[in-house]
Amino acid sequence: MISVVVTDREGVAHLLKARPGESLMQVARAADLPVLGECNGSLACATCHVIVDPDWAARLAAISEDEEDMLDTVFSLAATSRLSCQIRLSADLDGLRVALPA
């Protein structure tokens, strides 16, 4: 299992366990965190926005043009913002840390 730490809007850190191949959006939703993912990962909304810990940002797969366009609509955009539906978890992301935007 892969470990991921998601810090919620109140600053509480949640340790989540994931199987390889799952998206961070799926894992966060399964843990009842407020990650809506209304378009279910089809890059039609930005309701699964997360802010990746700067130490981990460069280790994620490169951002696509579609994801970048969608992130460009986000009001609380940060330098390491990503859509969690596009973060596919694998062993090399074991220990990934992200935060939910305020």
Partner: protein
Amino acid sequence: MSAGLASLAAVETTMATPQMVLDGIRNRARAELPSQVDAIDRDGVYPREIMASLGAEGLFSSHLHAQTRLARADLGMAIRSMAAVAAECMSTGFCTWCQDANGWYLENTANTALRERLQPGIGSGAVMAGTGMSNPMKTLSGIESFKLKATRVDGGYIVSGVLPWVSNLGQGHWFATVIEDATDPSHLIFAMVQCGQIGVEIRQNARFVALEGTGTYSVLFRRAFIADEMLLADPIGDAVKKILPGVIMLQTGMGLGVIEACIQLMRESNRTHGATNQYLPKGPGYFEDAAAGLLDDILRLAATPTETDAGFRKQVLSARLRTSEMALEAAQSALLHAGSRGYLQGSPVNRRLRESYFVAIITPSIRHLRKELAGLEAH
């Protein structure tokens, strides 16, 4: 003849009875939609030209007092006209609802300049328009949060965010939505937006199980400027409360059309399988009576569409809920009447089932309606 009398005479010659308008729409829909309905439903063909020709018959104007060719604006006629279209193709019926709802927002705005600029085109079908009110309606019911946020600048607002699933859109089409002030969440702005204006992009990223040709897109706002001239209400005040009963009642036209089509499918099945189908618990006669009763109730409510008291809202939500549930039941019954013939790819029953699910899930969905009704019961 004086200029005043001449213009009066022109109005009289273009005035039509409700039956004339309804017959014109039904005949046009029957002539143009059957050959296109599968391409619209499955292949994503947007029926732009058909919408324009139905608009020329008065499909989008019955409920708009400055555009209607009837003696007076009549929301009930708009519902019946939409039902006639949805009975042939609910995708086109849904596009009709989008167009009608937008015209209704303009009908009820205090921004007369905006109404005079846009409503004639929307009422005639020369200009297409949608409604981005799903997120606002859910947010006002405590189900979601606002997806668009604005900051005030000289002459308007700068808006960012994404609205997923807005329909009857294309380049140059208009839609209306509600935007939250980023610095004051209690300040809401009701605005008209045009697809393709700077900072507003439409994107089609998903496929649906039906209604593919309804021009349904995600709308991306990237620091888009919404000018004060484009505001339907700011602050929103009672504007949404005033328009919502009409918007929700208009949606019943989609469901009534599906029910009418399902009754017809049941009758067709009974021609060959009536001896067996008579044992089914509900048949076309049951649905015909139930739909007639539902239509009577809807038309009574539609006669006073801008009432806002709780009792009226409850009746409107109940009628909308009955429409959804009856459409689901009628589509299922159509399948039970058709048997395996209805279970084939491309069968009309197959499409009607998928259309009835849409009536049930479009905002306000059945679960949303039940939540609202439970809230009204509790008070």
